[in-house]
């Protein structure tokens, strides 16, 4: 009983909070509950025969985590990694994945009232936008992590 109460409290403190990061001047946000850690860029071991945006795997304290370049994923041009480049490690659907982003911004609280559904465009990018969050100065594109992790169709097309 006690544990459950604590759990609920925990969830409340993490609700509505999003970690925001930059990908080519656009601000994206992901649900903080899915983020396990943020690390600087590390040597990446390439894996053959994967889509170009999957850069390979890294050794994170003994754990092997795949990493994905978000610029390439969203069909933007590739930027050389600098010491500002970060890897945001997310975990969902029993899988771990590292997202390589230009820079990490801050943790924002966006209340449910400020969130509106995404526009109905069919471009590749839009499939992964779960919703749009209105923040003071602009908008944050909220990512659908589960789709990011499990979406296969595009990858299959690439393989053909």
């Amino acid at each position: 009983m006690m544990a459950e109460d604590l759990m609920e409290l925990d969830e409340d403190t993490q609700k509505d909070k999003y970690l925001t990061f930059f990908i080519k001047e656009e601000i994206y946000g992901i649900d903080i509950r899915l983020v396990t850690e943020i690390i600087g860029i590390q040597p990446i071991t390439e894996v053959p025969e994967v889509p170009d945006y999957v850069k390979g795997i890294i050794n994170l304290r003994g754990r092997i985590i795949p990493v994905m370049d978000m610029r390439l994923r969203f069909k933007k041009d590739f930027l050389e990694y600098t010491d500002r480049t970060c890897v945001v490690v997310i975990e969902a659907c029993d899988m771990a994945l590292g997202l390589i982003v230009d820079a990490v911004s801050e943790v924002l609280t966006i209340a449910a009232a400020e969130i509106v559904p995404p526009p109905e465009m069919k471009s590749a990018q839009n499939r992964y936008i779960r919703a749009i969050g209105k923040t003071g100065s602009g908008v944050t594109l909220l990512l659908d992590c589960e789709k990011l992790l499990t979406d296969k169709d595009e990858a299959m097309l690439l393989n053909l």
Binding site: T45, V47, P48, V54, N59, G62, P66, M95, L97
Partner: protein
């Protein structure tokens, strides 16, 4: 899951397995030994108690009902038991309980109703009572004359119902027997004593001469000269007594005379009685044998075993894996390169030795003998052969062979499917078998043995074998043939049966025909990194071979370098590695590169091309050729250089990557001593791509 529930599920499953084994053994022997009855009673009692505690009431009630039957068997020791029917009932009850337990294990409610089974149990108990006591069916009040297994009723009220074995009725016959033993057999007095003991269970009054057989040594001499003289009254007929006495060992001559004239019992044909007598004594012998055997097994089980949660073992294995990596990181640290460190090296070697032993020890912990899995097959053979009216015997060889616990879980289903297939498709009906000169009883042999780094499991049957032409035809229909038909070897044709949805059955039966079974087998075996090979001889039988690698997690690997990337090849697949000479390199008519090794030609795989890796070493003579062996061929992998051999901990490829790319030839990754990641190559996977 609630730990109490986990314990309940685990213990009850164990008990049910034991119960099944006892039941099948008892059925084979045709009789319930005292030990069996006690064990079953104890098992049912335990299940009843724990089920009641976990509030699984239907199971508790059913266990109670069965307990009642075995209580009756234990206290009253009835003679007339329909063994087969009772075993069927108990096994059905056991299945019901197992289903309920499985539901609880999956987190669902155990909502099955045992009402029907309980009715059957009550009827069975009532029948037992009627058969053995006479009087009203189900009457608990009727005081039964104590029918012990050994003695006989004195003045019995005539008991009319006869089920299978002989009823002991009034001792109305009187006989005189004169027994002569063979010359020089010695110890006639002891043999006479044995005879008396043997006869006691069948007679009411018994007189014999000489009477001081054990106490007086001279009685041997008397028996030798005058024969052993017995007088007794019994319910048995002349022939039965004759048959019984005739079984005496070292018997030279038997004179049996009936002293009174007794009317024959109409409903007792002499032959059946004599046969029944023989059956009873052999059943008694068999049960003694079975009891001895089970005692032996029980002793083995009680040899200080401890149940450990598999999760703990996994944690331990992971830690040992990390230790191996850390040890490599210390001893192969780049800081130490080039330094003269004699003492350090000595200590480092010691460390390596100890961590190696620790690794072996921990892996051995996870090894479990195949005995349990093999024994489960007994039940399947029994059930299927009954349902299909075939006679099949299961032989188990090498069941002590041990495999990793992981593997056991993945083997059980495939074995079950393969055995079902053997019985359903392979073994012919008894008449058909006899026509072709085979024994009416089919034989299935389940064999397990260690072969190098693999465990080999063979399932052989002596049935009709696989029908090559039918399989070929079906493969053609399903468009599975990609090579020239004439070039297909027998093994390749037989391997078509492993394709999903493949079946040469015209109709779907209860047991097979959908083409799903072999697919399940293949998937399960591949899941543990194993292989299946099917071979057959028409008319003679079929043999399915499963090859499963022994250890899954820590293997010896050779690390190779290609450009900046590191790859590792498992040592077991490497035959040799060398720098190729220009003269051994050939180009075949299609433009494929081949290498000659000791007169044989093998294909070359340029790894840098296969996986698109940037490297400067593209000339074959400037790199290293690693010859690897697969099931079907030997191929040469071309890499830049060899780094070294080491123990590596196999880590699975992250599921994200597995989902996104179906690359063949890479089966995992590992961390090297310097922190780099190396991908593990799989020779068979690479071979599949060329």
């Amino acid at each position: 899951m609630d730990p109490m529930m986990e314990m309940f599920v685990f213990e009850t499953n164990q008990n049910l397995e034991q119960l099944e084994q006892i039941m099948i053994q008892s059925e084979k022997n045709g009789v319930f030994s005292v030990d069996d009855i006690n064990n079953v009673f104890r098992i049912m009692h335990t299940i009843k108690g724990s089920a009641a505690m976990m509030v699984v009431n239907e199971v508790a009630a059913l266990a109670h009902a069965i307990e009642d039957i075995f209580f009756y068997l234990r206290e009253n020791k009835p003679q007339s038991i329909n063994c087969s029917a009772l075993v069927d009932l108990i096994l059905e009850a056991s299945d019901f309980i197992k289903k309920e337990i499985d539901k609880l294990d999956a987190g669902e409610k155990a909502d099955g109703l045992a009402a029907e089974l309980m009715d059957m149990t009550k009827t069975a108990l009532a029948d037992l009572k009627v058969a053995n006591e006479g009087g009203t069916a189900g009457g608990d009040n009727a005081a039964p004359p104590p029918c012990a297994v050994e003695t006989q009723p004195e003045t019995g009220s005539p008991i009319k119902t006869i089920i299978e074995k002989i009823e002991l009725e009034d001792a109305a016959n009187a006989f005189r027997a004169l027994v002569f033993y063979q010359d020089d057999c010695e110890m006639e007095n002891i043999r006479a004593y044995t005879l008396i003991t043997h006869l006691k269970s069948h007679v009411a009054e018994l007189y014999f001469f000489p009477d001081q057989i054990l106490e007086d040594d001279k009685s041997s001499e008397t028996i030798r000269q005058q024969g052993f003289d017995l007088c007794f009254t019994t319910s048995k007929s002349y022939d039965e007594i004759f048959a019984l006495l005739n079984q005496t060992i070292f018997l030279k001559e038997l004179k049996l005379t009936q002293l009174e004239d007794v009317s024959q019992w109409a409903h007792y044909p002499k032959d059946k009685a004599a046969k029944a007598a023989a059956k009873e004594s052999s059943a008694a012998e068999a049960s003694v044998k079975a009891v001895k055997k089970s005692e032996g097994k029980e002793n083995a089980n009680h040899q200080s075993m401890i149940s450990v949660n598999v999760h703990k073992l996994d944690l331990l294995m992971d830690l040992v894996g990390e230790l191996v990596i850390a040890e490599a990181m210390v001893t192969q640290n780049p800081d130490l390169a080039g330094l003269e460190l004699k003492n350090f090296n000595k200590s480092a070697r010691q460390l390596k030795k100890i961590s190696g032993e620790l690794q072996d020890g921990v892996m051995a912990i996870r090894m479990v003998p195949l005995t349990g899995t093999f024994q489960k097959m007994n039940r399947i053979v029994r059930d299927m052969s009954q349902k299909l009216n075939k006679s099949v015997e299961l032989h188990l060889v090498g069941e002590e062979t041990e495999v990793d616990k992981n593997v056991i879980e993945h083997i059980s289903d495939p074995l079950m499917h393969l055995i079902r297939n053997s019985i359903d498709h392979g073994i012919e009906l008894p008449e058909a078998r006899e026509k072709t000169g085979k024994s009416a009883t089919g034989n299935i042999t389940l064999e397990a043995k260690n072969a190098g780094s693999e465990v080999v499991i063979n399932i052989l049957d002596d049935g009709r074998g696989l029908d090559r032409s039918r399989i070929l035809k079906k493969a053609r229909e399903n468009q599975l043939i990609h090579k020239n038909e004439a070039e297909l070897t027998d093994k390749e044709i037989y391997s078509f049966i492993l394709a999903p949805g493949f079946s040469t059955n015209e109709q779907v039966t209860e047991f097979s025909g959908r083409g799903v079974g072999m697919d399940v087998v293949t998937k399960n075996i591949h899941a543990v990194g194993g292989n299946i090979i099917v071979n057959s001889e028409p008319g003679k039988g079929c043999i399915t071979t499963l090859k499963i690698p022994l250890t899954l997690a820590i293997i010896s690997g050779m690390t190779i370098k290609i450009g900046k990337a590191h790859y590792t090849v498992p040592i077991v697949s490497i035959r040799e590695s060398f720098r190729p000479l220009a003269k051994d390199l050939i180009l075949d008519p299609d433009g494929n590169e081949m290498i000659m090794v000791r007169g044989q030609c093998h294909p070359i795989v340029r790894l840098h091309r296969l996986y698109d890796i940037k490297t400067d070493v593209v000339e074959l003579t400037e790199g290293i050729m690693v010859m690897v062996k697969t099931e079907k061929m030997i191929l040469g992998l071309f890499a830049d250089a060899l780094i070294g051999q080491q123990q590596i901990v196999v880590k699975p490829i992250p599921s994200f990557i597995k989902n996104i790319s179906k690359t063949q030839g890479i089966t995992g990754c590992t961390l090297l001593g310097d922190g780099n990641i190396s991908l593990i190559l799989d020779a068979a996977g690479i071979a599949g791509r060329i």
